[in-house]
Symmetry: D2
Subunit: 140 residues, 4 copies
Amino acid sequence: MSTPHKTITYSLRVEFGDCDPAGIVWFPNFFRWIDAASRNFFIQCGVPPWREIEKETGIVGTPIVDTKARFMKTASYGDELQIDVHVPEWRRKSFVQRYHCRRGDTPIMECEEVRIFGGRREDGSWYAFEVPERIRRLCE
Amino acid sequence: MSTPHKTITYSLRVEFGDCDPAGIVWFPNFFRWIDAASRNFFIQCGVPPWREIEKETGIVGTPIVDTKARFMKTASYGDELQIDVHVPEWRRKSFVQRYHCRRGDTPIMECEEVRIFGGRREDGSWYAFEVPERIRRLCE
Amino acid sequence: MSTPHKTITYSLRVEFGDCDPAGIVWFPNFFRWIDAASRNFFIQCGVPPWREIEKETGIVGTPIVDTKARFMKTASYGDELQIDVHVPEWRRKSFVQRYHCRRGDTPIMECEEVRIFGGRREDGSWYAFEVPERIRRLCE
Amino acid sequence: MSTPHKTITYSLRVEFGDCDPAGIVWFPNFFRWIDAASRNFFIQCGVPPWREIEKETGIVGTPIVDTKARFMKTASYGDELQIDVHVPEWRRKSFVQRYHCRRGDTPIMECEEVRIFGGRREDGSWYAFEVPERIRRLCE
């Protein structure tokens, strides 16, 4: 029996400048919104902003490891879109974050990412923290 | 025995504003460059700009159907990046486009997309053209 | 005695990716929001989307002629900003649009633009329409 | 008799995604390029990247105080643009930076900014450094 995952919805309006000469959303903008929806998920779950988290834990953000996305329908300026976000899987040092972007009931795109809680070494290189128990519990 | 695919390299410099508060490229910008590298591939292969193609064929551009990407190393402002682009597979009504983004010999990210040659109906909806023989031959 | 101008407020939240390595909004993003606030002004005043206006009148949008902006305070991710928009001056073939961007009562930036109602000739060049009486009346 | 100012030219190609549904460059992208041209000016004059400057001096970047811009001609994807940059005026705690953006000999837009060399206090607020003699001499 599966427990439902906590789901947070991020809303946005497509702007004129988000669209390309074909009159539809230029696809990199979807990733802009996906990233905003990712951060919003943590904020709505009660996780403090990264700039505060960093002071306590050294975590600087949630850099992306990989992503895959499918584009089902186009969208254009004036459209109101919703992105439903949840974390279907927590691993030891990474997590999966999933996004369903829709216009009302019409699926527009969907996306699944692997991200880490990232920290930086003195030399500028990055490493993955173990998923903090406290954050995980807030987001499940 | 496989024939090597035509490969076109797109170069770019990472700018200050492409980076986020963690000091590294904000990942949606990679998709901005991927899209530029995609169009550059066609231009360098001798395919005219979409606004000219449209007049002859009705093709408005190459909207994306799906994409997956893997991020191996971070990049920051001042970095010179190269993106090697080729089309490993032509299907009847779509094609696969593959990208290797590197800083010199260091792999930064890689991406594989499915795209179509898209046209628009009167009602604004999109459809996929059969891959034009002429374009395919220029790009193989 | 001056009549107060119709003022429409556009709200936005600053995202992580809107900020640069110094941790503050990268200034070109303010112009992204200004443009969204400009279009929102017309929509809220009852002017239809440009894609509908175009069919009736040939007006394709409101391209910018010049702009000046002053940046008073920085903003960062998580901030909720408001942009108050009005049109202080209507000319024969252009208009002035003014923006006050604030975080609550704290002024963040302000901007004043001249824009036209633009149309396109067959050869791709642009021209300015006389300000349509109907649009002007909706926005005063 | 005036001494000519050191002028550095920044080149760029307009991409499909830089253009809006009217088929022309969406104007906030000009400010993206202006900012890149600003930083490129300092780099070409021999000023180290901000992340290195910061370690020695505390200067984090050159935040913008105000800007004004005029748009003369539109540009579209495929266009190669050049931006000529110089600093016409050094003040005690700020400087003026001027930009002429052109397509070959055709003026596209021009822009004049006031910027500071910015540092940050513990509380996150910003302040302006006196213009460092060393940087000024490299850029004159």
